[in-house]
Amino acid sequence: MPKYLLLKHYRGGPELPTPVPPMPEWDPADIEAHLAFLGHVNDLLKENGEYVDAQGLSMDQEWIRYGGPGAAPVRSDGPHPETGDLVAGWYAIDVDSYERAVELAAYVSSEPGPGGKPLYEWIQIRQIMEAPPSYAE
C-alpha cells in the first residue's frame, strides 16, 4: 500500500479562500477546538489502521551547509526568511490508494478555525518513496 505525507504549512502554498489571522490572535476556545481536532485525526488514523506517524515542527528554522575543509558550517536564514515556505508538521499515512489520501487531506483541511468555521487550509500531499523495486520487470 502506498504511503503519503500530508504536510501542513505555517506559510507558503496557494492563498486561502478566506484569510485567517495567526493562531495566537484566535479566541482561546477556538484554539482548543483546533488542537483537539488535530488529536482526533491522530486517533482516527490509528483506529482505521492507516497511521504511520504524526509530528509537529517548531517555527524556528535555519539553513546549513558544509563550509569546506576546516571551515565552520555556513548558516543562512534562507532566501525569503519572512515569506518562504514553512512546514508546520505532517501526518504520515499508509492507505489503499491516492484517492484515499486526498480524502484524508481534505478532512484534515476541514479543521476548525476562528469561530469554529473550517480553515480550508491547503494540505500538500507527497508520496513517501519505498526502497524495494516493484514486482514487475
Binding site: K3, K46, G49, E50, V52, D53, M129, E130, P132, P133
Partner: protein, 394 residues
C-alpha cells in the same frame, strides 16, 4: 526451533478452535497469543507434541480462565489423543481459512494482512514490518478486517479467484519488501494446490515459482538488474524446472486463465540461456492471449498492454512498440512505467537523446528509490552514449 513447523500449525489450530464452536476473531487472536508464547518458550523447552501444546495454549487464552496445572495437563493429554491430521486435512484447514480471509468484503491489502497472520502464521510484528507500518497500526487493521467478517458464515460459498488474487498480492508484497513473505505465499499456494483442482491455482503456483527463481539475480548489491542484464547463473534452475512442470499440468486441463498465461511468459524468459536467445515471437503470442482475456484491454488491463508493447518492440520493431505504448498512455496511472517502457523502446530505436529524456522523466515520477536510482543511471548512461555516438551502454 523450526519456525516454519510452528507457522504451519497455526491454521490447523485456528480451525480446531472453530470446530469447537469458537468465533473466528476470538480464535485467531487466541492462536496469535499462543504463537507468541511458543516463540518465546519453545527454544528453551521444546514441547513433546507441538500441535497439542499450541492448541492447549490457545484454548487457555480463549477461555481466559485461570486453571490449575493439573487441569491443563489433563487437557493437553486429551488433545494429544486426537489423531494427527494427514496432509489432506491440513490442506483443507488451510483452504477453509484462506476462503474466510480472502473475502471480497475486505480491501485486498487488509485481506493479505489477515491471511498472513491467520493462515501463514506470522506475528503481527512480522506483518507490520512487511508493510513498513507500526505494529499498532497493523494490529488495528487486522482487527477491523475480522470485525468486517463477523457475520460471514464458515460454509459461505467462496470464490477461488479472490483467494488467488490475495495470494498473488501477498507474493508481490513479499517480493517488494521481504523474501520471507514471497516464500510464505508460495507455501500457501502449494497447500491450495493440494485442495483444489482449478488449473488457475496451479497457474499461480507456476507463476510464483518461475518468477521467484530469478529473485537472487534481480537486485544485486542494492542495484536493480533488468531482466536482459541478469546473471542467469544466479537463477534457481531447479525451481524453474518445477514451475514449468506445474504449468504444463495446468495447461493440459485446457482452461486457460491469466495466471497460466503470465506463467507461460515467465517460463519463456526463464528458458532462454541468454537474453538474446529469448523467443520473443512466442512471448508476443502469449501476450496476445493475455490482452485477449479482457474485453477492452486498454481500459481493463493497461499494464498487460504496456508489457506487451515491449514484446511488440522486439518482434515488429521499436516504432511498432512505441505505437502500442501510445494506446495506454492516457489510461495508465503509473506514468513512470509508461515513460520507462518508452525510454527502453526509444533506445532500441537508436534515438538516444529522447531515450535519455524519457528515462529522466520516469525517474522523477518513480515511487521506489531502488527503481528510481536504476532509471537515473540509465538516463545518464544513454545520454553519455548519445553524446559520444556509442550505442552500447552496458
Amino acid at each position: 526451533m523450526d519456525e516454519g513447523l510452528l507457522r504451519a500449525l497455526v491454521p490447523q489450530v485456528v480451525t480446531a478452535l472453530l470446530r469447537r464452536g469458537a468465533d473466528f476473531a476470538a480464535a485467531e487472536d487466541a492462536v496469535q497469543e499462543a504463537l507468541i508464547d511458543a516463540l518465546r518458550t519453545w527454544p528453551g523447552s521444546p514441547p513433546r507434541n507441538p500441535r497439542a501444546w499450541l492448541t492447549t495454549a490457545a484454548v487457555h487464552r480463549l477461555t481466559d480462565a485461570v486453571r490449575s496445572d493439573a487441569a491443563r495437563r489433563n487437557r493437553e493429554e486429551r488433545v494429544d489423543d486426537e489423531p494427527e491430521p494427514g496432509p489432506t486435512e491440513q490442506a483443507d484447514d488451510t483452504l477453509l481459512l484462506l476462503f474466510l480471509c480472502a473475502s471480497p468484503e475486505l480491501s485486498p491489502a487488509s485481506a493479505v494482512a489477515l491471511t498472513l497472520r491467520a493462515v501463514a502464521g506470522l506475528t503481527t510484528r512480522q506483518v507490520a514490518d512487511a508493510f513498513l507500518v507500526p505494529e499498532g497500526t497493523m494490529a488495528q487493521r487486522i482487527s477491523r478486517a475480522k470485525a468486517a467478517l463477523r457475520d460471514r458464515r464458515l460454509d459461505a460459498p467462496a470464490d477461488v479467484a479472490v483467494v488467488l488474487h490475495v495470494l498473488h498480492l501477498a507474493y508481490a508484497t513479499g517480493h517488494v519488501s521481504d523474501d520471507q513473505l514471497a516464500r510464505e505465499a508460495i507455501r500457501l499456494t502449494r497447500q491450495l494446490v493440494l485442495a483444489s483442482s482449478e488449473p488457475e491455482v496451479r497457474g499461480l503456483l507456476a507463476l510464483m515459482l518461475l518468477h521467484h527463481a530469478r529473485h537472487r539475480a534481480r537486485v544485486v548489491d542494492g542495484r536493480v538488474v533488468p531482466l536482459d542484464e541478469q546473471d542467469r547463473m544466479r537463477w534457481d534452475h531447479a525451481q524453474i524446472a518445477e514451475g514449468v512442470a506445474i504449468l504444463q499440468g495446468a495447461l493440459a486441463a485446457g482452461r486457460r486463465g491469466r495466471f497460466q498465461v503470465e506463467a507461460a511468459i515467465a517460463a519463456l524468459h526463464d528458458d532462454a540461456a541468454t537474453a538474446a536467445e529469448t523467443d520473443w515471437p512466442q512471448v508476443l503470442a502469449w501476450y496476445d492471449e493475455l490482452v485477449g482475456l479482457t474485453r477492452d484491454a486498454v481500459r481493463d488491463d493497461p499494464a498487460a498492454v504496456l508489457s506487451r508493447a515491449v514484446a511488440v518492440g522486439h518482434v515488429l520493431g521499436a516504432s511498432a512498440g512505441l505505437l502500442e505504448v501510445e494506446r495506454v498512455e492516457p489510461v495508465l496511472r503509473d506514468r513512470w512505467k509508461v515513460l520507462a517502457v518508452q525510454a527502453y523502446l526509444l533506445r532500441m530505436a537508436g534515438d538516444l537523446p529522447e531515450a535519455a529524456a524519457a528515462y529522466a522523466r520516469a525517474a522523477e515520477r518513480c515511487p521506489s528509490t531502488l527503481e528510481r536510482d536504476h532509471l537515473v543511471r540509465q538516463a545518464a548512461l544513454v545520454r553519455a552514449a548519445g553524446s559520444t555516438g556509442r550505442v552500447n551502454d552496458r
